[in-house]
Symmetry: C2
């Protein structure tokens, strides 16, 4: 199979590229390197079955030129900066909604028959059913990020119905593991290695979140591709558990051997649109025979190990972030 | 109140403008006149409280210049051509999703606090609960049109959460009445006045659809604005009934005094993405005290009367359409 991966130099995208290459597929990677990191592809670059080109999915002509002979698109390019949506109100729509529109049009024009899309559990907004199943009541969006992913989902579904492409849409919880470059584990890691005596946390620390290990995530995608053959296949991806921010803080501190004084900003939300409880019902993907190998705790610890080895290579974000995501 | 109406020269938009002016408000109308008709505003133009400017909501700078001192935006500009989405795959996204993104950004920059949005019952896709309530299970989109409206809904909700605007979102069934310019009543009217002996119908005639009279629609919007004060207020708008296409054909034929031979193309859908059963649960808006004054049959007949008087002013669509919508 010849697959195209958008966001190939990103956290999940690059892990996906490695998996595809290991399975013997031909892979075309594209990334604009706005947040992607070239060294994530160091291993992939050794494969003759891999080609990579820098470019932006907002450039329609360029995108079209990459789509020839592709059998499956993994659309993972996105602005994944959930928290700071309010600082750049048009970015989520442009990169995630318009970006997906461009990918779908290029696929249609070139006759690419199948797409895998990285959506988010945030599309459930503040879920009224916990854990949230895929057929949760029609939700109200609470972040620009989730709204842009919902837009992408809807477009993909309409292209599937109108033009006969097949779609696998995955609503992820937050992903952890190797090549993780933003989120609460990194934020807390940086704070605790720079000043181990104190930790600032937005919210009250009781926000409950779910996480999934990146290799479990990638495995689930391929299980679904293999076993789910509807026109539109939608799966939540997460573990059957959640943790409090305070749990995660405890695991990270234990791993680092520190006992900081914790300063909470207070309130049950870290920021506007922060969801105080993310927990997805993953029984649909589990019914296909997949289950995660790592617990949330194990995934957090694995991520701390990764950061310890690689923190010097991870670019510092402009935003000082001290909140879970 | 000073209100801005996008799509002011359209079917529903122009009826809304008349209502706003009759209620004593100041109204700024905008329209690109791609489908809007200047003569729909003949009455509005007589008001000193009305101003109208031609322009396109895709022109961000222009749109921004119209937004000063506006207190409420009625966003009714849209590509409303549901059936022919496949003929112009990017049009729905550009005009409806990107257009709404532009409206929201202009509102945010100018501090406009409130929006009313014309969405569609088509966002329920092929509903699993009939009649479909507003909290119907998370649907799968089946048309580019509905996907673009869903995108707009999500963006509006995210802006409400992120920037504190208030939103009233209405999911309409098909609207009938004065200034109706496209859809099955027009298609059948044209066919039957040009060759009364035969009528071509896409599908099997058993598709079940709901309709609402435009004045009932406009009244419902103002009832909701008056009585629903949540941050995001979502209402289905329709009658508590549906009809078969064959019912509507019978009413139109009776009104025109014709007895055509009916040729069905067959199948339970008129076109790809045609929904064979649209029926919305409108108990939420009814609980606010609104109810429609006209039945579907009365609305169809009223529309035929309007067409009889005005058919010479309604531009012929390039597409020969013989399907219900």
């Amino acid at each position: 199979m010849k697959a195209l991966v958008t966001g190939a130099a990103g956290f999940i995208g690059s892990n996906l590229v490695d998996h595809l290459l290991a399975e013997g597929h031909n892979v075309v990677g594209v990334d604009n390197f706005s947040t992607g990191q070239a060294h994530f592809l160091d291993r992939a670059m050794l494969h003759t079955r891999f080609s990579m080109q820098r470019g932006d999915i907002l450039d329609k002509a360029w995108l079209l030129s990459r789509m020839r002979d592709i059998e499956l698109v993994f659309h993972f390019a996105a602005n994944a900066d959930v928290r700071f949506g309010a600082d750049h109100p048009t970015k989520d729509f442009e990169q995630n909604a318009q970006g997906t529109a461009n990918v779908l049009e290029a696929m249609r024009i070139c006759g690419v028959p199948s797409i895998v899309f990285a959506s988010t559990g945030s599309v459930y907004g503040e879920a009224s059913i916990i854990p949230a199943p895929e057929d949760h009541p029609f939700p109200i969006q609470t972040s620009l990020y989730a709204a842009s992913k919902l837009s992408a989902e809807g477009q993909i579904q309409a292209y599937a119905e109108t033009f006969g492409i097949r779609a696998h849409i995955f609503r992820f919880v937050s992903i952890l593991g190797e090549r993780y470059t933003h989120g609460h584990v990194l934020d807390f890691y940086r704070q605790l290695t720079e000043h181990p005596e104190s930790l600032r946390v937005l919210g009250n620390g009781k926000q409950r979140k779910s996480y999934l290990y990146v290799h479990d995530c990638v495995r689930a995608i391929f299980v679904a591709l293999e076993r789910a053959k509807d026109k539109v296949n939608i799966f939540n991806l997460g573990t059957d558990e959640y943790c409090e921010v305070n749990d995660s803080i405890g695991w990270i501190c234990a791993e680092l051997g520190v006992s900081p004084h914790i300063q909470y900003s207070g309130g049950d939300r870290g920021w506007i649109g922060d969801n105080p409880l993310i927990f997805l019902d993953c029984s649909r993907i589990r019914a296909l025979g997949w289950k995660p190998e790592l617990s949330i705790r194990q995934a957090v610890v694995r991520t701390v190990h990764y950061l310890r080895e690689n923190i010097h290579r991870i670019e510092r974000n402009d935003h000082l972030s001290c909140v879970p995501s």
